[in-house]
Symmetry: D2
Subunit: 331 residues, 4 copies
């Protein structure tokens, strides 16, 4: 249940609600809106109901993520980037941090194409235990330095709650991978930090699953959250690795205030489908892109087939920027 | 197997291939390319191999649909429309033809927004036998008149092979619905006509299934084919009726020369997601759109929730046209 | 809405309901139950309500298929077979009728294993137009003769409404294939006959889709219907062709009175998974099995990889019979 | 690559292989079989090839899980239970440990029905952060005591690598939940213990994904692994929570030596479909069952709708035991 209070009277009434449910039900406040988890109408003190402009009874479990509690867009800001505002956020880099030299080279490419965030995995979630598992902290250092040298932010995946502190020393955005979208311990741990979290949709996560996963982060105090559509698992997996669910972009934007970006690289799984998917995502209203690049995809340590070479990437960035201009003029 | 002949020598060699396999294997010719279904390299006469520029051995079953046999784009042309060329083809109209008066009104709306093709169902495939099944031939007449009055073409669904002749009298494009994508008798029957066929992807049809279905039409002599992506069935069906597989657009365009258009209405199932999906489809390179419109969706005979009202539709058309301009400049 | 009348008074009241809705709404009667499609409670004549034992308001669109209208099991009977009763119905034969001699040989194998119905395709729905399309009427004749010689019934697929009459001359059960589950013209045409119809679930058909497809047949007057679970399309398709949805068996049995049988051959797609799936289907309560057999699978005209060889088939039949004995003792 | 050595000569040759790849490639030995991850034929020392009975080149990434390296069944043994042998292993209990008194009562029910393992969640992975999250260590204590009192083993979920030690003090089997199937840190941590691990298939995990997840555990030294089929996510989710993929049982049994059990409760999501799914799983050859029970499902702390009441559960156990007798006689 969400009570929308008449603006100027809010403070006092909010206190009444808080007291009424103290220790009994969870209460969330956003400006003149108060949500009480699982409350019924007749449990709300009369004076509060009298001060209400509106009472919303059909509220999803993921209440803090909902526009019903928080109608206006959340904009996630870091040193060099704004996600969810007017500009298209561009994040790019190799799948894995492969070496100091390589990540510096890739950072330059990303920067030249307009990216403000450098991506790169130091801890890699690999299907097989015998595949390359990442450079670990060494990789994080290289990534940070490469970003700093180019005036960029860092995004990198954290796979374990014990690593949250370590990864947090080097990154500007935590990335939660698709396989960990419902690793609730990890979500709680990043939720205790103040570092923005980019949450990838799980392979078979419904829209509600995504929002509830985000809610785990918010419930621990961190509401700097970005949602990433990266393709879902369907019967159609011969020519692309996943099915890019571009419709999830407007659907999520209706339901939640968190910005939504897209990862065309993992959705496609093959480089020559990445650009059209990126274009589609931006045209559907995505606030940004996270893209894998590599100058020698055939020898990439991981996910080579889906990496864009520098020139293709720059052309993709240019096109997406152009579509974004068209789309953002309509908002 | 496809043999690519050196250009000027083609005719003679093609005759040799035809004779060699006459009555034994199917032979398809496109310009200087000859395909022989299921042939092995050592079955090809030596003189033909000598005249070949290239021999392609890994050929899909749907050979006539393949760019390996027919590298350049097919452009489907009717009186007022070109699908697959430089312009974005816009097809619109109500889900069902509801009355003479209504289809005329909707035709005007479609025309004003730039549509050159009027859609409307006279024979409706409905999940339940007790739902409205369409006006039949009467509906076809109204549809034709409304299109003619506005200088438009007609697209309408044919559900039965016996109806092919009847529907063919009134329409410029046969639409094959998703549920009938593998109704092979129907595919063969429209394949015997000279009327362009717009083939909707089945709900769980793979890319190869779509191409093989198109091949049934081509195998009967009709290669005026348009493919329609309209969403697939996945686990994710709470907020949209289907999952719009925008990646199918570039994937199909790589594999086949037939133009690919998108149906954001059936993919979304709800009107307020139609416009972003349409934008995404165009940005991914689709050659056209087929969209459901209605001036009073709540009282529509079928599929009201996904119909765009006239003003929303015009705005959608305007936006898609704008994105199309940006995208087509890159080709 | 379904009105359950007090038993002995039924006839008169049913007439009142029929008159009240004559020409306005569809009325279905089964013993002391009357269903009125889309009626509201206050439209029912008071005298009828007074005579009612129960009024069921939440009725599915597929009302004739529903146990709410028809609580007891439907048993489909032919000369040599009973589907839905106490015995496990066994249907077997090759995918395609390949020759007179071959179908006779396969009939003997089927018979020896306890099958009472011989299957075999004379009209084959093939993904590619260039694959073997069946022997046509010749195949039907061979199939009929082979069945007669062994005292068996025939089941064979009908793909076209125009073929219904022809196929009906030779068969005891029409089979509607998965790809045609929503070919509504075909459903209507077999619905006009008195020949039992075995309806295969479409690859991505929901439970409700299956029931509505059955309703098309019933709505035309034929309620001798059998439902076939044959696997659905999911992301999991490397080791089996489809995902055998064994849960559909009890779910359908709860909702509908039509008997449910399983096709482990198409679900598995590979012969060595057929027997465990058959066992699972019987253990879940299926009323029968339809299985593909071949004495030389490597040279089968179609679907060889999933065909059981005679000895394997006999062992499968023996096992399923044994499980069926255990299961049927609990009913 | 797997080299199958002639039996008696094995030891010496294995040493040669180990030395040849020491520090370069991973080598796994099982009796007279040696696997070398990613090796090519010409890298194998000639003397070893000479001593080989067979060389298997097409080896999956999850080599330790494969029957190619380990042909005979693994049987997982605990104090009161054997999984993978001749007996059907029965695990049962409430979804959550709710109180000391309740888990004792449920343990008695489970025991009476023949279960040798008591299940119950103390740490619960819940979709929403505001749902009941489990009693924690207190719950583990109650669970242990209830099991001990009834001469049973314990199975309970571990959600975090940090909890492995704690949970390990109380449990006989670690359960890895579906959402954590690719939580690689957790898999590695339980892989370092000697406690058997029951790994649930992820909602959209392919067969290969399951085997690779098991391989993470084996790669850390623990090969006491049980695989659990618990339903996958498909389009068909109105009448059951998931689609029970009964075919995964024989498919996994072909590929891997680890025992496979089924969880009909989570597959069904509704209690009245649990028994048929359990029967189907046993008939398909599963080595055991894990089932949720509750004496007052309407007031269960979690997953009430799918819990079997004591009497229904006992009947289910009796039936499954009977089917198992039939099935195991064929092995």
């Amino acid at each position: 249940m969400i009570i929308v209070l008449k603006k100027d009277e809010a403070k006092e009434e909010i206190e009444v609600v808080k007291k009424a449910f103290d220790g009994k039900k969870q209460v969330f406040v956003h400006e003149n809106r108060v949500a009480v988890q699982g409350a019924k109408a007749d449990e709300i003190p009369g004076e509060v109901l009298n001060a209400a402009e509106d009472v919303i009874t059909n509220v999803p479990a993921a209440v803090q993520s909902s526009r019903l509690l928080h109608p206006e867009d959340t904009i996630v800001k870091t040193a060099h980037t704004e996600v969810g505002g007017n500009k298209l956020a561009l994040m790019a880099g190799p799948c894995s941090v492969e070496s100091e030299e390589h990540i510096h080279r890739m950072a330059k490419v990303a920067k030249e194409a307009g990216a403000t965030v450098l991506r790169g995995g130091a801890f890699k979630p690999r299907t097989s235990p015998y595949s390359f598992q990442g450079l670990g902290e060494e990789g994080l250092k290289y990534l940070r330095e490469a970003a700093d040298e180019n005036g960029m932010d860092v995004i990198t995946e954290v796979m374990d709650d014990e690593h949250v502190e370590l990864v947090g020393k080097y990154t500007d955005f935590f990335q939660i991978g698709a396989r960990n979208m419902q690793n609730f311990s990890l979500l709680k741990e990043v939720g205790k930090t103040k570092i923005p979290v980019a949450l990838k949709r799980g392979m078979s996560a419904t829209i509600d699953d995504v929002l509830n996963a985000a809610e785990y982060i918010a419930a621990c105090g961190n509401n700097q959250i970005i949602l990433i559509e990266r393709g879902i698992r369907t019967f159609d997996n011969k020519y692309t690795r996943n099915t890019f669910d571009v419709g999830a972009v407007p659907v999520l934007q209706q339901l939640t205030h968190y910005p939504v970006i897209v990862d065309p690289s993992h959705a496609a799984g093959v480089w020559d489908i990445v650009t059209p998917l990126a274009q589609a995502g931006v045209a559907a209203g995505a606030s940004g892109l996270i893209v894998e690049i590599h100058d020698d995809p055939e020898h990439a340590f991981s996910d080579g087939p889906q990496a864009l070479k520098p020139d293709t990437f720059k052309e993709m960035a240019r096109r997406c920027e152009e579509i974004h201009k068209v789309v953002s003029a309509w908002k």
